[in-house]
Amino acid sequence: MTGLDLPGFADPVGDAQTTFRALLDAMARPGTLHEVADLAAPPPLGAASASVLLTLVDGETSLWLDASCMAARAWLVFHCGAVLTDDPATAAFAVSIGMPPLGIFCAGNDVAPEESATLVVQVEELGTGPAYRFSGPGLRLPSLLQVAGLPEDFPVQWTANHALYPRGIDLVLCAGARFCCLPRSVQIEMG
């Protein structure tokens, strides 16, 4: 079972657009929850992470998969045309089940902070679990979001990532069909 028997977007143009607009809104308002349309995603990927990858990844971007995502490899290569890489430091996009250490990915440089990696991370659940408090650009007031499945030292790791600003990693947290974005500009504390 390689997932190759599973289709991509039913409406490639429309589904990519709706997913992107949700992503744009999620990135502009960090920590807000969004939902993607149903998609038969190749395990272990959920509908949200598969949709995000179909929307953003193609032959122009390098993609790094953590060991647990390898089952979806053939599907990603076929549907996205993704160029896979073994070296996380050269990846434009990275997919992982659970949070990898942020330090292994490219954080961009001061002249071109946009060259940093975007991580698509599947967590256990969004909307339940420990609460995190977000503040920064995009948020009128600090917002709260519960995320289950982040490592205990995540706020510490994130503080180090945020301190690199304007360099830094951007995160897309996914669980099932739900996702939220954490751009490097956001500050995170335990809520």
Binding site: Q17, F20, L24, L56, D110, V111, P137, G138, R140, P183
Partner: protein, 279 residues
Amino acid sequence: MSFYNFAYLDEQTKRMVRRALLKAVAVPGHQVPFGSREMPLPYGWGTGGIQVTASILGRNDVLKVIDQGADDTTNAVSIRRFFARTAGVATTTRTAEASVIQTRHRIPETALREGQIVVYQVPLPEPLSRLEPSRAAASEMHALGDYGLMHVKLYEDIARLGHVSISYDYPVMVNRRYLMAPSPIPAFDNPKLNRSPALHLFGAGREKRIYAVPPYTEVRSLDFEDHPFRLTRAPQSCALCGARTSYLDEIVTDDMGGRMFICSDTDYCAERREKDAAE
């Protein structure tokens, strides 16, 4: 029009623009390079804005296009018709009804709301370009956050003229980190960017740069403690609707020195007149 992909651009190009947009939102005010495509209209007519709009537009969007505040000028009419034909989206002139507003050189007078996206057509994305001709040197200044050159320019204006002589494209600091050119909007519009509930996306086609200001982000017009940023506006009221707080255009009406001042935002002006007529 089945000869084109939805909203004209091919999907590969849209993905490239979309990736640039997400990074631009993640680093407010930073100019992200992108592979600007040749569009069916010349550079300088809004190719950057059009590529951004084409990449975000969906079937349920309602699009408004303005040029210097007006819905009925050539550039606005052409771009609105372009997307009505290539994307089949609904269009409007009403600011409140629009989900995406593409604009050349104005921010609407009607207050923007959460969920709206404003797309700016940008001729010169680099705020330092008139002070530092080298793009590489300017990028390094952005990297170091070294904006002394711009402060010196403002200081020299004040020393020579008693005030800052920039009336449009007035430089702003975004999120206390990046100096940004707000596109040639009048300085009058600058305060509307500060902590705005809408998302602002800037596209420069010829210069191949995209940048963004997310909602509720601090956007401060550069100034000095003893010379604070001040709004300038023609002291007249609009000759059509009587507005005293909107930004005005001066229209020459004859060759005898006759002139009138009217709202630059045609939708705002028309709505005010409709309301007056109804009362």
